[in-house]
Point group: D2
Chain length 285, copies 4
């Protein structure tokens, strides 16, 4: 956990000799001190990925140094994304009625685990209004009906824009976000699917798992894309089950799995540890 403001940069692009040296030398020459640096080279594709975190020089503002690095990364031909620790992104949680991920995320945030601001909760049901407000988080009830889904999404988008939301977390939202929504929002959306994808995509995965007689159930946190359950996978985990477990017990066991899997994926995202590339993720954990 950084105590003063650090700069975190994520770079990706065509591999070239000397990239590590160039990046670290640039930071050194600017008076920065590297705290962590991790890189990966996809040998098959010839792509280089790096996450580097440094404490900036005391001469000059952090913002200027971050901006200067972004220009430097561009000059290397790398896609470059720079964040400043302490500048907390704004987060919206989308929920339906199921509340375990909702409580878990908010309690972690209140315990100081997440460097973000949870600005608001959006739901198609009023069920969690009281709980939200007890946590001191504004709650927006936007009902969804088949006919009026475009209107509801437009209302959501206006809200996200007005509040400057940087990340949407679908904490068992149980609705599909349209590709229009995703494109218009234009920022990351993290979803939790309650199976070990690609097994049991689609509806009622615990029923599917029970029917097939698998011995493990899973959960998958991924970035939402227009193709449901097909987005880049961030994190997955499983839990052992047996013939003794009915579907309702799978559901109960699955709640812990979903909470933990989503919680970790959100943490990595907020710490700028994830690069997306060809529908996969590189997670610098």
């Amino acid at each position: 956990m950084p105590e003063s403001a650090n700069i975190v940069a994520l770079l990706s692009g065509p591999d070239q000799r000397g990239l590590v040296a160039k990046v670290s030398s640039w930071i050194y020459e600017q008076g920065g001190n590297i705290i962590h640096a991790d890189q990966h080279r996809d040998q098959e594709e010839g792509v280089f990925f790096q996450r580097v975190e440094w404490s900036p020089s005391e001469n000059g503002s952090v913002e200027e140094q971050a901006k200067a690095f972004e220009a430097f990364g561009d000059s290397l031909g790398m896609k470059t994304n720079v964040a400043i620790s302490g500048q907390k992104p704004n987060v919206a949680i989308f929920v339906s009625k199921i509340d375990h991920c909702f409580h878990d995320l908010i309690l972690r945030w209140k315990a100081g685990e997440y460097p973000c601001e949870i600005k608001l909760v959006v739901s198609n049901h009023a069920t969690l209004q009281n709980s939200s407000e007890q946590y001191g988080i504004r709650f927006f009830h936007i009902p969804i009906s088949k006919e009026k889904k475009p209107d509801a999404e437009a209302e959501q988008l206006a809200l996200l824009k007005k509040e400057g939301i940087d990340l949407v977390i679908m904490a068992r939202y149980m609705q599909i976000l349209s590709s229009i929504f995703l494109d218009t929002f234009g920022k990351p959306v993290i979803n939790i699917h309650h199976s070990f994808l690609p097994a049991f995509a689609g509806a009622r995965p615990y029923h599917q798992a029970h029917h097939r007689g698998v011995k493990l159930i899973g959960a998958t946190a991924h970035y939402a894309t227009a193709d449901l359950d097909q987005g880049p996978i961030i994190h997955q985990d499983v839990a052992r089950i047996s013939h003794r477990n009915s579907v309702s017990e799978l559901t109960r066991k699955g709640r812990d799995l979903e909470k933990m899997t989503l919680a970790r994926a959100v943490g990595w995202h907020l710490e700028n540890r994830i690069l997306v590339y060809e529908n996969k993720t590189v997670v610098f954990d």
Copy 2:
């Protein structure tokens, strides 16, 4: 691990009140002493499953008491399967060139983990002939070609029959056994598939997993059926991977997973812990 000869019975059939009492009273009245008993009731389907292990009375032979129980189980309308510990089933291992499961199974057997006789190894390649013979196990090289596959299977079936084989273990055999083979053999065949089924069925599962960008790889031990990779699952496990792992590293990590998953499934089978039911298994572990 039973030291003297115990009787192990597996029962399954329509649930009815008093089954536990009837079975345990029968054993008690015959002078037996229950060592373990485990049962399961599928509430949805109304089916009862039981595994019961007991030390038989010293009056009368173990074989007679086992046979008497089988008749008793039938009289209850239950499918009944009785084994006597100490009467070791005969096992054949089918392999190709890949040898990690082959060595693992044989070394466990030699270490005393498996109550069976590994009578022979069958392979479509000569690669593991020397290793088999060093272990003191006969090796049968039966090449497979597309045109002559029926002939090869007929040769395998004749061998299995002649040697009185009770279980075939496909230890990364890399060939599909035809439904004719499976029906004619008529006894259990255990296969190891190197994915977390139903994800990545079919060929080259580690390539599929790498391409999809999953964060866990899996292995599945199952009874072979005519539909490849669709049989009743006995055991599954997973291992964590990351973007750093190439396909060849998935393959290396997967070897440990395959060994352990197959090894445990074989152990449960040999200890008569598995009941198959509607393409699922009940494992009394």
Copy 3:
């Protein structure tokens, strides 16, 4: 999860031939129907343990049948403990300032995971008063000082007695309960210790773990006894750590471990799945 009232009995005592038959026949003859039965025989000590759950006959009250079984168990020379599902035990949660187990237990209870009544929260600090009351649970602030600890414990005991508390959960209470308290209360107390006992008993286990350079941290849920951290272990789990993790990160990772470990131990206790024997537990999970 039982839907109508079932009876759950836990028996333990000297092994004798025919126990399974006697118990199941008694239930059958009384018109009951066994739902689950699990037993264990400690071969070294010659002790028999059983958990049996049945739906009682519709003739006669559940309470009478439960009482009759208790007498029957006694007549077999077995220590017998009978519970009726639906009769929910009263629970008190003891906390200090650390709140992750506190929230986790209460949210699980509110989600229907725990067949109990959480009647009250006791704390030596006022920190969690608001949270308790938002959950609708009474909060009792009983400060502890070295000199007045006996008075505080007397106050706690009076409260537990008045409220008919059947189980105390120390959800990171950070205080030692005296042997006088434990003896006077006379009912189970479950504690969570944040290490893999017996490693790192005592204070500051994450500091101890970091200092020793272990690669896994642990958590242990156990029944509290006068010898701190020496009571019968109910459940343990571990999480992988690395050189990268500072003590504060071990603490953060440990929170999830503590929550999950305590939550499962409490669930097993409330479902009458635990028998204590010679400072160990038999858990029929």
Copy 4:
């Protein structure tokens, strides 16, 4: 897995600004290309650790470039250790009669997992002589008696010296190596202890675990030091057990745990991924 000869350097020493830049720039200027680089900064102690792997320039020999880097690392005030992939260290395996780790290590080596030469097996019993020789590895039977232990160790040391052994693996050797042995050998010795250290150090850890009633058993791979079971921990893992498991079953389950834990520790050591520091390890996995 490196295909052509790479250089792997491990550095550790007092932290200073610009170390990453200096190291990567040196490699870049010499015409090398960094394949992997990983670093760690111990914030409390102010110590910097790095593992960097690069493909050397085609101008000049690999050996010269490795040597030049070593001098460069020294000039930075860092303890520097350089290895060339393809130059395989010589390994001796010390065993007693228990053979599961012995077979596992050798089969992994034969499968190409370990970049080393297993030159010889040393044992205080003749039990594994045949197996060693079937694997094509020379076997040295050096019996140990209390009185003649110094003589036996002298014989072992002479053998290790003569054969140019770089690493000793105690694969359940069941003997304590004296501090004289360890000092005289002067190179790493990896041991596997069959418990989750620091719990259950010393003799018969599975008996200790069974007696205490723990719910997980463990295994710990560590560098051997004069204080038995106190050396720097490389890797640890655990397996779940229950009241059903007797000591002999713990022993059986533990075998898999020991194999896997030792195997991974040896792999990391042979890939130069481990730095030892204040009785702890930094493992760049």
